[in-house]
């Protein structure tokens, strides 16, 4: 589904990611792990086209690396970004409507579905998204991303700054998505949680992939796990 080859990402003159390559197969959940500043979010930004990058990004057998942001999204990529970035001055429902901006035929049905999944969002449908709690905002951000019925979901730090109980809830939701065979690229600092869901994981440090493997290989490598959980 998504094949990234030799990706370099730039923030102005600074290169944040140095020639990494990885693959996300259809229906699988792949996670990018690593400490703060490893280049995980930069990689997500490069895939959506927000950050400048060189190298090849293949999505559904098509090179999308030169396309503008909106077009890439319309090909079936959706993102729940770091920091959630819900539209604070719009209501919950309006946020969801914007998420389905180019999926207008199904918007009403999907909104009803989401309200069923998250009754709390239904309860606050007309409330400004800025007044929601962090966990509610995270749910909204994921729901907004899925309003377009994407072919791949990029999830950037869904657990960041949330209470453990809420994190469990969010990861439960991700698990259900995975069971529905949604293709997911998950960026997480919390390696233990992420590995529980992932079919495959890559460890980034200083803009390079330093290790990769299945969840089992990571799990059986005690030194690596110690380092990862230490980082998390």
């Amino acid at each position: 589904m998504l094949v990234v080859q030799n990706l370099n990402v730039f923030h102005g003159p600074i290169e944040a990611v140095h020639g990494i390559s990885f693959t996300v197969k259809e229906g699988s959940c792949v996670s990018l792990l690593g400490p703060n500043g490893a280049g995980k979010t930069s990689t997500i930004s490069a895939i959506t086209g927000v950050a400048k990058s060189t190298g090849r990004i293949m999505f559904a057998d098509e090179d999308i690396s030169t396309l503008p942001v909106e077009i890439r999204i319309r090909k079936g990529i959706a993102v729940s970004p770091e920091g959630r970035r819900v539209f604070a001055n719009l209501s919950v429902k309006e946020n969801l409507r914007l998420g389905g901006a180019y999926n207008t035929a199904n918007v009403d049905r999907l909104i009803a579905e989401w309200f069923e999944t998250f009754p709390i969002l239904a309860e606050r449908r007309d409330q400004m998204a800025g007044t929601l709690s962090g966990g509610e905002q995270q749910m909204l951000a994921i729901a907004r991303a899925l309003m377009s019925e994407p072919r791949i979901l990029l999830l950037d730090e869904p657990s960041l700054g949330l209470a453990p109980k809420i994190v469990t809830q969010i990861f439960g939701m991700i698990k259900r998505l995975k069971e529905k065979r949604m293709t997911i690229l998950l960026v997480e600092q919390n390696a233990t949680l992420a590995l529980r869901l992932s079919d495959h994981a890559y460890l980034l440090n200083n803009g390079l992939i330093v290790a990769d493997g299945t969840a089992e290989t990571f799990g059986s490598n005690d030194a690596l796990m110690a380092e990862l959980t230490g980082l998390a």
Partner: protein, 298 residues
């Protein structure tokens, strides 16, 4: 009584004009941080379109009004495409200076291609007649202006609440990148913002022209200066702020005209700007924006 009613009508119609223009400035500013000083020249484009209509002997008022509004809208969208696209993501100062440059170019083009002198436009005189209203006489033009502005504001609100593009424009004021990440095309949002600001300027142009009866290259400069102040009062980029600021400014200006002694008549503008400067010291972000510390994230 008649005097008070007349002054209230004056304040409302002044305020309506400023609100229309301020809304146009605010919608562009909220999305791209551009203080569009060339807005005044968009008004002049509408005015000169009326001259052109007269030259073509098209005197049907509907055609004249429609053409002026359409021309202003096309003018605004063209400016976005030609002049403001390169500075789309630049800092506000770069945008402001670009807008000044565009404004100078357009004013001088009018001067060069048409005439430096005012040209009379008579096709809108029909809008002005006295209306008897519970024993008072009210200017029809002022009534039209106030009612039109209220209708426009309601339509704008519906647009911003009900349509996806409207939602996107509100969201873009906060986080443009995230709007693009929902797959909405940036170009469409920018074009829509300029289209709306052009339409609003076109509508304002009709009333300005009906009142003044002539167009010259500087037609829009003073009204836009005031609209700019209205935006500042309401909090730059806030749409409700622009409307409130516009009407407030209309009220202040009429109050100054009425209350200042005759001998200080020439100082109205200075007093208006002085009170705005004081307001900015008290509330640097305008009256509708809560005070915010530097470095705060939204």
């Amino acid at each position: 009584m008649e005097f008070v009613a007349q002054q209230i009508m004056n304040a409302l119609s002044f305020g309506a004009e400023y609100a229309l223009l301020a809304l146009g400035l605010a919608i562009v500013f909220s999305i791209m941080g551009l203080v569009n000083f060339a807005h005044g020249e968009i008004i002049a484009v509408g005015g000169y379109t009326m001259v052109a209509m007269a030259a073509l002997s098209l005197n049907n008022p509907l055609i004249v009004v429609g053409a002026a509004i359409l021309a202003a809208a096309i003018g605004a969208v063209t400016l976005e495409r030609v002049a403001f696209r390169p500075v789309r993501y630049a800092d506000p100062t770069t945008g402001l200076l670009t807008a000044f440059g565009v404004s100078i170019v357009l004013q001088n083009l009018f001067l060069l291609l048409v005439s430096p002198r005012p040209i009379a436009v008579t096709s809108l005189y029909f809008l002005e007649w006295p209306i008897p209203f519970v024993g008072l006489r009210i200017s029809s033009l002022q009534l039209f202006e106030t009612i039109t502005t209220i209708i426009v504001i309601v339509v704008m609100m519906l647009f911003l609440k009900r349509t996806v593009l409207g939602l996107a424009m509100r969201a873009a004021a906060l986080d443009f990148e995230m709007v693009r990440l929902t797959g909405i095309k940036a170009n469409r949002v920018f074009a829509a913002a300029f289209l709306i600001s052009g339409l609003l300027a076109g509508i304002a142009c009709v009333f300005i022209m009906a009142r003044r009866g002539s167009v010259d290259p500087h037609l829009g400069f003073d009204p836009v200066l005031m609209a700019f102040v209205a935006c500042v009062v309401g909090g730059f980029g806030s749409l409700p702020g622009a409307v409130i600021g516009g009407f407030l400014l209309g009220a202040i200006e009429v109050a100054m005209l009425v209350l200042l002694p005759q001998s200080l008549g020439g100082m109205t503008e200075a007093f208006v700007f002085g009170s705005i400067a004081l307001l900015l010291i008290w509330r640097p972000d305008g009256i509708l924006t809560p005070p915010r510390e530097k470095g705060d994230k939204q």
